[in-house]
């Protein structure tokens, strides 16, 4: 019998939660990296024991941790316990936390500027890793989405990181600007049917697609409308909060934008709004059912100024028609006095026959629905504020 492993990143450490396929009883690990912000953890699709973790702090910067035993133990790639820490020449070996924008003549792009909050130009400065996306076919290859927005790649298990500078160096860069959380690259989607194709999303620049393995990038924001911009339908500048796809139909993308839930059926060339009857179309996460490509999930919050559920009732909304028509899911969720948020990387789905849906809140609750959203049970209720949730289906 299989099970699940839920990877929870919080404001004060990481937790690994495990259960069997019933997903009723849960074991929660001791905290890892206590006191550090864990923006994201994600396991390799081809090696469930290989997990990458982004650990950061305002004091000490960015650290990458890796586990090769399913989250039981961790090390910084490049400085594994028992391995030599120095080269024969006496130099420290590679550091997993070295994210340096590539400005080389051979492969890099110059450090340019982007819009600052006040509209002036501001140089790119690395701050942290928001999202780690392991390769679909190689456990040693992993992508990192960082703030200030850029994409990095490691092909040696997280020891060395190389910027894929074509994105940061895009001609539209000076028009990008930070959202309230910073100018972050928070979403990386790999097309399982076309390994040359990737999608990323940046707050607040929008969505971009590469059709050549990340060398060059194209903004894909046609159809988005953002009232906070001088030109509401400009090519870039949109505050995309999250995009998602179903692996069987990677040309269909779903987006939770700052306001508006959107979909595209042509790999992002054109978008149309599918907010339909949602009580609010502001939110952060969006995800797709593992077996039903037209079943999608969002968690509406009241507004850009009030990041709390409407009416103090925590509700997941599910559409079985790819948007427009939405049903509220409340069974097991608090329906009064609830004022938490669900952040963009804090929702995930497993791929058991009865699809499990997971999300975590800024109030430290982690919920699981083992039946596609019909019923919800708390995995944990008193963790630090949840920044990210990922799930590994163990079969």
């Amino acid at each position: 019998m299989g099970g699940v492993r839920v990877l929870v990143g919080t404001k004060k450490g990481a937790f690994v939660c495990t259960s069997d396929e019933k997903r009723e009883k849960w074991d929660i690990s001791e905290p890892h990296f206590m006191g550090w912000e864990i923006y994201h953890m994600k396991g390799s699709p081809v090696d469930a024991n290989r997990i990458y973790c982004s650990q950061s702090s305002g004091w000490f910067g960015q650290i990458i941790q890796r586990s090769d035993d399913g989250g039981k133990s961790w090390f910084q790639p490049g400085t594994a316990p028992g391995e030599p820490t120095h080269s024969p020449e006496g130099f420290p070996l590679a550091e997993s936390n070295k994210f340096v924008y590539d400005t080389s003549d051979e492969s890099g792009k110059p450090i340019t500027t982007h819009q600052w909050y006040d509209g002036t130009q501001h140089p790119w400065e690395f701050k942290r890793v928001w999202h780690l996306e392991p390769s679909l076919d190689d456990p040693n290859t992993v992508y990192a989405g960082v703030e200030d927005a850029a994409l990095f790649k490691s092909t040696d298990g997280g020891k060395n990181w190389q910027e894929m500078s074509g994105l940061r160096g895009h001609v539209s860069g000076p028009q990008w600007m930070p959202g309230a959380g910073g100018m972050c690259l928070h979403t990386i989607l790999l097309d399982p049917l076309n390994h040359q194709r990737m999608f990323v999303a940046i707050s607040a620049a929008g969505s971009f697609r590469s059709d050549d393995g990340g060398q060059t990038w194209k903004p894909i924001n046609k159809g988005l409308h953002s009232n906070f911009m001088p030109e509401p339908e400009a090519e870039v500048g949109h505050c995309v909060h999250r995009i998602a796809l179903h692996p069987s139909r990677p040309d269909t993308l779903f987006m939770q934008k700052h306001w508006d839930v959107m979909r595209s059926d042509d790999a992002g060339e054109n978008w149309r709004e599918v907010s339909g009857n949602l009580p609010s179309d502001f939110g952060f996460p969006i995800d797709v059912h593992a077996h039903e490509p037209e079943t999608i999930y969002v968690v509406p919050i009241k507004s850009d100024s009030e990041h709390v559920p409407p009416d103090g009732r925590l509700r997941v909304y599910r559409s079985r028609s790819g948007g427009e028509n939405w049903d509220e899911l409340t069974n097991g969720l608090p329906q009064e006095n609830c004022y938490v948020n669900v952040l963009r990387d804090a929702m995930a789905v497993d791929s058991h026959d009865s699809c499990g849906i997971y999300f975590g809140t800024t109030g430290g609750q982690v919920y699981c629905s083992p039946d596609s959203g019909d019923h919800w049970i708390p995995i944990a209720e008193h963790l630090p504020g949840v920044l990210s949730v990922e799930v590994q289906t163990l079969k």
């Binding site: 550090w36 305002g58 000490f60 650290i63 490049g78 550091e95």
Partner: protein, 101 residues
């Protein structure tokens, strides 16, 4: 060449997997602030980038350097360490600022 005592903040001790409050670091001559930082990073390569920026070498904003009651944070990194630090009597302290949380 000297062996100096260094006090690291809690989170960096965890990253370096050391239990004691003080660690001993071998540093090369001249025994400057930079030599102390180089020595820390040589013994504990996992701390590279956590005390000072990988590229610029700039001290992280929320960290300070102290020794013998002196604030060395804003001194040039080629400043010699105090004699008592070089002699192993007093530690070189890397201190995380109290900044809320």
């Amino acid at each position: 060449m000297a062996i100096i005592k260094v006090v690291l903040p809690y989170h960096l001790r965890n990253l370096a997997r050391v239990k004691s409050g003080e660690v001993e670091i071998e540093i090369t001559d001249p025994a400057t602030i930079a030599a102390a930082l180089d020595g820390i990073e040589k013994k504990y390569p996992m701390l590279r980038g956590t005390i000072r920026d990988h590229v610029s070498g700039k001290r992280r904003d929320f960290l300070r350097y102290f020794a013998c009651g002196q604030d060395l944070s804003h001194e040039p990194v080629d400043t010699l360490l105090p004699d008592k630090v070089i002699g192993g009597e007093e530690p070189f302290i890397v201190l995380g600022s109290i900044a809320g949380g």
